[in-house]
C-alpha cells in the first residue's frame, strides 16, 4: 500500500508547469520511448481513419455516381443542402435518437441492476453469474438480429403465441409491418445484446466505491434505497458517465439489427442505414458521403457534449465526473 502512495507521489511531482527545455534526460527518453511504442499504432490509426474521413469529406463536395463516372461535378455544399432539407434525413435522425435514448436509458437501469447482482453475489457463484450475464454480449450482432427476427417474424415466429393473452397481439400480428412494433423488437434486441457490456462497466465503477462509505451509511440508519442513491451512485458517477457515453456513441451508429430485421422499411431507418443505402445501394458516392460526414459530426457532438458539459474522463474510471 505504501509503495502505491509513494509511486503516486513520484508521479505527481513533475506535474508543475515546466518548459520543454527543462525536461530531464530521463523524462525525455521516456517520452521518446512512448512515441516509439505508440507511434506505429498512431500512424496506422491515421491511415485507416483519417484517410477515409478526408476522402469522404472530399467526395461529399461532388455530385458523383459510381455508375456515371463521366458526370462527376463539383457542387460544393449542395449535397449537404439536399440532405438537410429532406424530411427523410430528419425522420431517420429522429428514429436514431429515439433508439439511442430508449436503449441507453433501459440498459443503464438493467445494467446497474445486473452489476449490483454480480457485485453482491457470493464468491462461489460469481464466475458462473458473470459468464451467464455476458453470453448475449458474446453473440455476434448479426446472429442475434437473425434470432430475434425469426422469433418475431409472422411466418416463422413463435412470440405471437407467447403474447396471445394481450389484446392487440394475436397469431396474425405482424411485428415488422409498422414502425412502432418493429422498433420495439429492434430496441429489445439491442438492449438484450448490449446490457451486459454496460453492466460490466458499471461493475468496475461499483468496485471502486469504498465499502466503508456504505457501511457508515448503514450504521447511520440509511435504507438500501438511500444508500444506493445517496452513497453508491454519486460515488460511481464517472463510471456511469463513461458507460453512457460509450453506449450512446455505439447506439447512435446502430446498423446491424435494423438491416437484418427490417432493412429500414416502414419508418425504422436509421442514419447509418441511410448512409449505407445512398452510398452502397444507390451508388451515389457524393450524397452518401455527405450523410456519412453528418453522421460523423453528430457522433462528435455527442462525444464533445459528454466530455465538456458532463466532464466525462474517458481515460480513467475515476475522473473529474466524481
Amino acid at each position: 500500500m505504501s509503495s502505491t502512495v509513494d509511486s503516486r507521489a513520484r508521479a505527481s511531482a513533475p506535474e508543475k508547469p515546466r518548459g520543454r527545455g527543462h525536461l530531464s534526460d530521463r523524462a525525455r527518453s521516456e517520452r521518446k520511448l512512448g512515441w516509439l511504442l505508440a507511434g506505429p499504432a498512431f500512424v496506422i490509426m491515421l491511415l485507416v481513419t483519417l484517410y477515409p474521413i478526408v476522402q469522404a469529406l472530399w467526395d461529399s463536395l461532388f455530385s458523383f455516381r459510381l455508375t456515371a463516372p463521366g458526370d462527376r461535378e463539383f457542387v460544393f455544399l449542395g449535397n449537404y443542402a439536399t440532405v438537410l432539407s429532406d424530411i427523410v434525413f430528419w425522420r431517420d435522425l429522429g428514429v436514431t435518437m429515439l433508439i439511442t435514448v430508449v436503449t441507453v436509458a433501459v440498459e443503464l437501469v438493467l445494467g446497474l441492476a445486473l452489476a449490483l447482482v454480480m457485485h453482491s453475489a457470493i464468491k462461489s457463484t460469481r464466475g458462473l453469474l458473470r459468464t451467464a450475464i455476458l453470453v448475449p454480449y458474446g453473440i455476434i450482432t448479426v446472429v442475434s438480429a437473425f434470432a430475434w427476427f425469426y422469433a418475431f417474424d409472422i411466418t416463422t415466429g413463435y412470440v405471437n403465441n407467447w403474447f396471445s393473452w394481450l389484446p392487440v397481439i394475436g397469431p396474425d400480428f405482424n411485428w415488422f409491418a409498422s414502425a412502432g412494433p418493429a422498433l420495439t423488437v429492434i430496441m429489445a434486441s439491442e438492449i438484450w445484446k448490449t446490457t451486459p457490456f454496460i453492466s460490466l462497466l458499471l461493475l468496475s465503477g461499483l468496485a471502486q466505491v469504498p465499502g466503508e462509505l456504505s457501511e457508515a451509511a448503514r450504521v447511520d440508519g440509511a435504507s438500501s434505497w438511500q444508500r444506493l442513491t445517496r452513497v453508491i451512485l454519486p460515488n460511481m458517477k464517472a463510471a456511469i458517465m463513461v458507460a453512457v457515453v460509450f453506449r450512446a456513441l455505439d447506439a447512435f451508429r446502430i446498423f446491424d439489427n435494423v438491416f437484418i430485421m427490417t432493412q429500414g422499411q416502414y419508418g425504422t431507418e436509421t442514419l447509418s442505414l441511410l448512409a449505407y443505402r445512398t452510398s452502397i445501394g444507390r451508388l451515389e458516392i457524393g450524397l452518401g458521403s455527405a450523410i456519412s460526414v453528418i453522421l460523423f459530426i453528430c457522433v462528435m457532438i455527442i462525444a464533445l457534449v459528454a466530455i465538456k458539459i458532463f466532464k466525462v474522463d474517458l481515460t480513467g474510471g475515476s475522473g473529474k465526473g466524481r
Binding site: 455530385s63 459510381l66 455508375t67 456515371a68 463516372p69 463521366g70 439536399t82 440532405v83 429532406d86 427523410v88 434525413f89 417474424d153 409472422i154 411466418t155 396474425d172 400480428f173 405482424n174 415488422f176 409491418a177 409498422s178 432493412q263 422499411q265 416502414y266 441511410l274 443505402r277 445512398t278 452502397i280 445501394g281 444507390r282 451508388l283 450524397l287
Partner: protein, 411 residues
C-alpha cells in the same frame, strides 16, 4: 483478384471467372461442362454473388467501376443491364456471337438484353410469373380457369371463399415486379424514354397506374393478402398458398419444384401438390391479354476482362439450347431459347413448360433505364404497405421519382 489473374499463368489454360447468382448448382455444372468442351482453351471458375438481385448489382457495379479484370462473365439481372451498359462497363458482344446465340431467343428476354437498341448481354434463361391456383378453391368459387381470369374475379373469389390471395407486398423488388406487371397489363408504362436517364419521363400517373393502385389497395385494405402481406415475399406467399387458406397466387415457377421438394422432405402433404394448377398471369382488363412480369439472367462480359474472346466463347457454350434445357430441367429456371422448350426432359420435369413459354411471349420487362434502382426503390416505398395504397399513390410516386432523379430528394 491477384490469384484469379495469375491462376491461368504459364502452367495451364486461362481461368475465366463467372460471377453467378445462387442456384441449385446448375451454373457450376455448366462451367465444368463448358471448360471440358473448350478442349483446354480455358477453364471456367464460378464465384458466387449475394442472394438478392439488388445486392448482386451492388457488388458487380463496384467491381466493374473499379476496373476489376476478373469480371470475365457475369450473370446479370435484366433490369440492371442498362446501368452497367451505359457507362461502358460491359464489353460489346461480337456480331457472330450475337448471331449464334439469339436466333431463337424469345422476344421478351431478347428485349431485356438490349440497351439503346443494341444487344449488350446474351440471354441465358428467362423467367416469368404464372397464376398458380388450388383447383379445389377455383372450383368452389365457380371460376372457369380454362378461360383467362381477371384480378377483379380473383379478388371476388378469394373474398367469397374467405381465402388468401398470394401476392408479394414486401417492400422489396417483388413489389416493383407486381406494380410493373399490373401497369403493363393495363396498357400503361412506368417509364417512357428510359434511355434519357435522369430526364426519363415517368408515366405512372395514368389510368393504368390508377387501376394498378386500385387492385393493390383493395387487396391490402380488405386483408385478402393475409396478415403478413406487408412483409410477404415470394417464399412467404408460397408457404401461405400451401396452407389451408391458399387459393390463387402469382409467383415464379420455382414454387412448383419447391412444393415437390417439400413433399419429399415430409413438410407438405402430396394432396396439396396434386391440387396445384397453373395458368397465365391474371388480366387487368378482361379483353386485354396480360403482360406478365419478366425475369431471368443475361450473361455479360466485363469491359476490363483480359480474356474477352475466350469469355464470349464460353458464353456461347453456356447458353446453347441444350444447356438451357438441361438447366431448366435440373434447376427450374426456364430457358430464353424457344428450341429449349421442345426438349423432352423439360416437358417431363415441368408440365407447365408450355404455359411458361406462352407467358414469356407476352411478358413485359421492367423499366429499362440506368436509374432503375431509384425508380424501383421509390415504387417500393410508396406502394407498401399495400393497405395504404390509394388512387393518389401513382401521382405521389411520379412526383417523388422525378425529384429523386433530379437529385433534389433522398431516397
Amino acid at each position: 483478384m491477384l490469384l484469379t489473374g495469375c491462376s491461368g499463368g504459364e502452367s495451364g489454360p486461362p481461368t475465366l471467372t463467372w460471377y453467378i447468382n445462387p442456384d441449385d448448382g446448375g451454373q457450376d455444372v455448366l462451367a465444368q461442362q463448358c471448360s471440358d468442351a473448350s478442349g483446354g482453351k480455358y477453364k471456367i471458375q464460378t464465384s458466387l454473388l449475394p442472394r438478392d438481385a439488388a445486392s448482386q448489382r451492388e457488388q458487380l457495379a463496384r467491381r466493374l467501376a473499379a476496373g476489376d479484370t476478373s469480371m470475365d462473365i457475369m450473370s446479370l439481372d435484366p433490369p440492371y443491364v442498362p446501368e452497367l451498359a451505359e457507362p461502358g462497363f460491359l464489353a460489346k458482344p461480337p456480331h457472330d456471337v450475337v448471331q449464334a446465340t439469339t436466333q431463337d431467343t424469345l422476344e421478351g428476354p431478347l428485349e431485356g438484353a438490349k440497351w439503346n437498341g443494341e444487344i449488350v448481354a446474351i440471354p441465358f434463361w428467362a423467367n416469368t410469373q404464372l397464376l398458380w391456383y388450388r383447383e379445389s378453391a377455383a372450383k368452389a368459387a365457380g371460376l372457369d380457369m380454362a378461360e383467362p381470369v381477371t384480378w377483379d374475379q380473383l379478388i371476388k373469389a378469394a373474398k367469397s371463399q374467405d381465402k388468401y390471395l398470394g401476392v408479394q407486398g414486401v417492400r422489396g423488388e417483388a413489389m416493383s415486379v407486381w406494380v410493373n406487371g399490373l401497369v403493363e397489363s393495363a396498357g400503361g408504362q412506368v417509364v417512357s424514354d428510359g434511355q434519357d436517364g435522369q430526364d426519363a419521363k415517368i408515366t405512372l400517373d395514368s389510368d393504368a397506374g390508377k387501376k394498378a393502385a386500385e387492385i393493390i389497395g383493395t387487396i391490402g385494405k380488405e386483408g385478402l393478402g393475409g396478415p403478413g402481406l406487408a412483409t410477404q415475399d415470394e417464399n412467404a406467399s408460397m408457404i401461405q398458398f400451401q396452407g389451408d387458406k391458399g387459393s390463387f397466387m402469382v409467383n415464379w415457377p420455382f414454387i412448383y419444384s419447391a412444393s415437390k421438394a417439400a413433399v419429399e422432405e415430409g413438410a407438405l402433404d402430396q394432396s396439396v401438390v396434386d391440387d396445384i394448377r397453373w395458368t397465365t398471369w391474371p388480366r387487368v382488363d378482361a379483353d386485354t391479354p396480360s403482360a406478365p412480369p419478366l425475369g431471368g439472367i443475361n450473361l455479360g462480359v466485363g469491359a476490363a476482362s483480359e480474356h474477352q474472346d475466350l469469355a464470349w466463347d464460353a458464353v456461347q457454350c453456356i447458353v446453347s439450347p441444350e444447356h438451357q434445357a438441361q438447366y431448366f430441367a435440373t434447376n427450374g429456371n426456364p430457358p430464353a431459347s424457344a428450341k429449349a422448350f421442345d426438349d423432352p426432359a423439360v416437358k417431363k420435369a415441368y408440365p407447365m413448360a408450355d404455359t411458361i413459354r406462352k407467358s414469356l411471349d407476352n411478358a413485359a420487362p421492367r423499366p429499362q433505364t440506368p436509374y432503375y434502382n431509384e425508380i424501383s426503390t421509390a415504387i417500393q416505398q410508396h406502394w407498401t404497405p399495400p393497405g395504404d395504397v390509394t388512387e393518389d399513390t401513382p401521382r405521389e410516386t411520379t412526383e417523388f421519382i422525378q425529384e429523386v432523379l433530379k437529385g433534389d430528394a433522398l431516397l
